[in-house]
């Protein structure tokens, strides 16, 4: 067995671009013949090298104890077990450690999931007894053997086998097993991926029809045109795109420049449809961003298993937006030390409540856990180290700097619809529009935003630090940071919608 160009044990080596079990070997991996046969037990470092990202290992460590596993066993070909945890039913996990095929009944789209990594760690540490493979483990082995046979018949030298590097000083042991399967045999996830791919293809065909027949087509003025597509996208489990399509229905004819806005958004949809179908070839952070944008959910447990981002987080702004039948609250946080932005989302259906645990103008010393993605804006709050206190030393940037920050964010995730910046600027009138201005330039505010009047009153026309949300249509004022207090100017949810229940 040959081996080189392999990930060093214990080092972060994103080996594959994945979407729900479809895994693509990156070009830097040597392709060698996979030896099918018995192997010795892996080294822990080999398990580390298998992790798709560092947070997977962090998540796996607490599960790599015998008490979390029922019916764990191994033989010369596979290791298996049922992991008990948060769900009612334990997850059935099996790993073919020869062909390196993984199957787990958990819903995670990360491959291999933390359960598989934990099971391998347990096995590598010699904490799994030998036994007879149950049916679900035997199925993994059978599937892997059949696949290897097919593969060998088609392409004799085509299995990606990254193995521990020989120059890293570690003794990798007598056997260097392949590190990842060519495909995850998890049929459920493959089905979903296939549905999503079909949905993305259909969306692109629909977009193609629209630009072929023209935006002046009267059909575009009918809500049903958009709703029908949105329904099909939901069926294809790309709900994120369905929401964007639905919102477009309300833009058609809404103002004289509606066709510019619609065309721009059709471009973003095309971009996402194209990127979604090429997910495997994208860098992992970008692939995660695309997956999130098209509607792939990441489990909170997986996010909370990541590395925390600890800081004193100032609550810079709040924005409530009704999206379909849900009120969505975005709380924008900024690290006082790092200056990094984070977004805390909460949702409320009719009669439910939005998150009120963080108030604009306060700061909290807390651990935040970031969702994967190129920007990594969305977070979950972990441990709070102290009670909230009034935020101090709010620093704003210039209008020019704000443009640069927005540009950087859009370049990282071109489909984002909002991004926060804190500028020191004054509200002023430019023709028929309100703008934020400083010595270096001005940026338009979104017309009709309720916060403009309050911003004008609070600032009395003078420059003040103000947190705004960039949108493609202009800036939305969220918070005026006055010397003695912060004034929440953000769009507010309809109280009758929230409280009526």
């Amino acid at each position: 067995m040959e081996g080189c160009n392999a990930p060093s044990p214990g080092r972060w080596n994103p080996p594959l671009g994945c979407l729900g079990g479809i895994c693509v070997a990156p070009s830097g991996y040597r392709v060698v013949m996979n030896e099918v046969g018995a192997t010795a037990r892996w080294q822990v470092e080999q398990v580390f090298a298998l992790a798709p990202k560092p947070s997977s290992l962090t998540a796996a460590q607490p599960l790599a104890v015998p008490s979390r596993w029922v019916g764990a066993g191994c033989d010369e070909r596979a290791v298996w077990g049922r992991c008990t945890g948060g769900s009612a039913e334990p997850y059935e996990c099996a790993v073919d450690h020869v062909a390196v095929a993984v199957r787990c009944s958990c819903p995670s789209r990360v491959v291999p999931c933390k359960h598989a990594l934990a099971l391998l760690l347990l096995w590598a540490r010699g904490q799994v007894a030998e036994g007879e493979a149950p049916a679900f483990a035997a199925a993994v082995v059978a599937s892997a053997v059949a696949k290897a046979a097919r593969h060998a018949a088609e392409v004799p030298d085509a299995v990606a086998v990254p193995v521990p590097s020989s120059d890293d000083g570690d003794d990798a042991g007598p056997v260097a097993p392949p590190i990842f399967p060519d495909r995850d045999p998890n049929a459920g996830r493959d089905d979903r991926v296939a549905r999503m791919a079909a949905g993305l293809a259909e969306l692109d065909r629909w977009l193609d029809d629209r630009v072929r027949t023209g935006l002046a087509d009267p059909a575009l003025a009918r809500y049903s045109t958009w709703d029908d597509l949105a329904a099909r996208l939901i069926d294809a489990q790309v709900g994120g795109l369905a929401n964007r399509v639905r919102r477009l229905a309300g833009v058609v004819g809404a103002h004289p420049d509606w066709h510019q806005q619609v065309l721009s958004e059709l471009g973003a949809l095309h971009l996402l449809a194209t990127a979604g179908r090429q997910m495997g070839s994208l860098p992992p952070p970008l692939a995660d961003s695309v997956a999130a944008a098209i509607g792939w959910q990441v489990r909170q447990a997986d996010v909370l298993a990541g590395v925390p981002d600890t800081d004193h987080w100032a609550v810079m702004g709040r924005s409530d937006v009704r999206e379909d039948r849900i009120e969505v609250r975005r709380l924008w946080l900024r690290g006082q030390v790092t200056g990094r932005w984070a977004m805390l989302l909460s949702f409320a259906a009719y009669g439910q409540s939005l998150d009120t645990s963080m108030m604009v103008g306060t700061q909290v010393h807390a651990d935040l856990f970031r969702y994967p993605g190129a920007l990594g804006l969305r977070v979950l709050v972990g441990r709070r180290h102290a009670d909230p206190a009034p935020a101090a030393d709010i620093v704003g940037c210039s209008i020019t700097e704000a443009c640069a920050q927005v540009g950087t964010a859009v370049a990282a995730e071109p489909w984002i619809e909002r991004y926060p910046v804190c500028v020191v600027a004054a509200p002023a009138r430019s023709g028929a529009r309100w703008v934020l201005t400083d010595d270096g330039g001005s940026l338009p505010l979104v017309e009709g935003t309720t916060g403009i009047g309050a911003l004008l009153a609070c600032s009395e026309g003078r420059p003040v630090p103000v947190t705004v949300e960039w949108t493609p249509n202009g800036m939305v004022p969220l918070t005026a940071h006055l010397p003695d207090r912060a004034i929440d100017l953000g769009p507010t949810a309809d109280p009758s919608f929230l409280a009526a229940g």
Binding site: D204, L207, D208, D209, V211, R212, T213, G214, L215, A216, D217, H259, Q260, L263, S264, L266, G267, A268, H270, L271, T274, I399, T400, C403, V406, G407, V410, A411, P414, A426, P427, A428, R429, S430, V435, T437, D438, D439, G440, G441, S442, L443, P444, G453, A454, L456, A457, C458, E460, G461, R462, P463, W470, P472, A480, R485, I487, L489, P495
Partner: protein, 263 residues
Amino acid sequence: MLNDYWNEMVTVALLGTDRRDPPAPPVGGLADLAVDDPQPTPSQRLLQQVAGCAVVRRAGLLPSAPVATVAPPAPDPRPPTPQSATTTWRRVVADWPVLEDEWVLAAVRNGRRLAPELVPPVLARHRTDATRHARALVAAGPLGEWMIQWSPRLACTAKHPPVVELLAELPELPMVPELVSLLSSPPAQVARTLAAGLSSAELGRAHKAVLVNLLARMDSSSLLAVAHAIDCVDPSSPSIGLAFALADLAHLRHHMLTELELA
């Protein structure tokens, strides 16, 4: 150049690529994109270029020229209503609007001006009532007139002029004769009467409007005693829901008046 290209693409998209071919991209990144990833049909070429151009336009956000700032309003030496009073005002408006006139008057009588963030919503709320709008302008001070100058929708739209004599007075509220005497009775007697009536269900939902008016206009020194007495109404009484509501009103009125006092 990019704007011209974008406008041409908008025109083609409006007409449809069945009728007009997409324009050629300008030299640069978009042209490179077209060469690197050639598309077979005009509609696909347009979609590719629209996606690329939209990203370039957004990522290349540039500020417009600076704009002259507006002259600030004349200074108002009065202290603003405290931040917590803004929350209380929102609660008053949402739950007990019968208290709003008193809230504005209390602010003025205590020598306060409206907190700036409250000026637009208070003016907008009363633009159809000349007297209340005028009272709000007094509370807002110079900032109120200044805001109307920049946001004319905050101006009063009522046809009749304000009644000057009513500016400093609370409007009268309807009251039944049996309850009028309670307006000036000692706090303990008011509390006893209301608690007994609610416990025995002699006072019920049908009396809510007059009881609300009573609590909104009674001597403010009686409010806490009344609230505590109502809090102790027998939970099995059919009027317990009304009792909760009246206690909330009494607590809120006491809270808002205390909050607006100058330290």
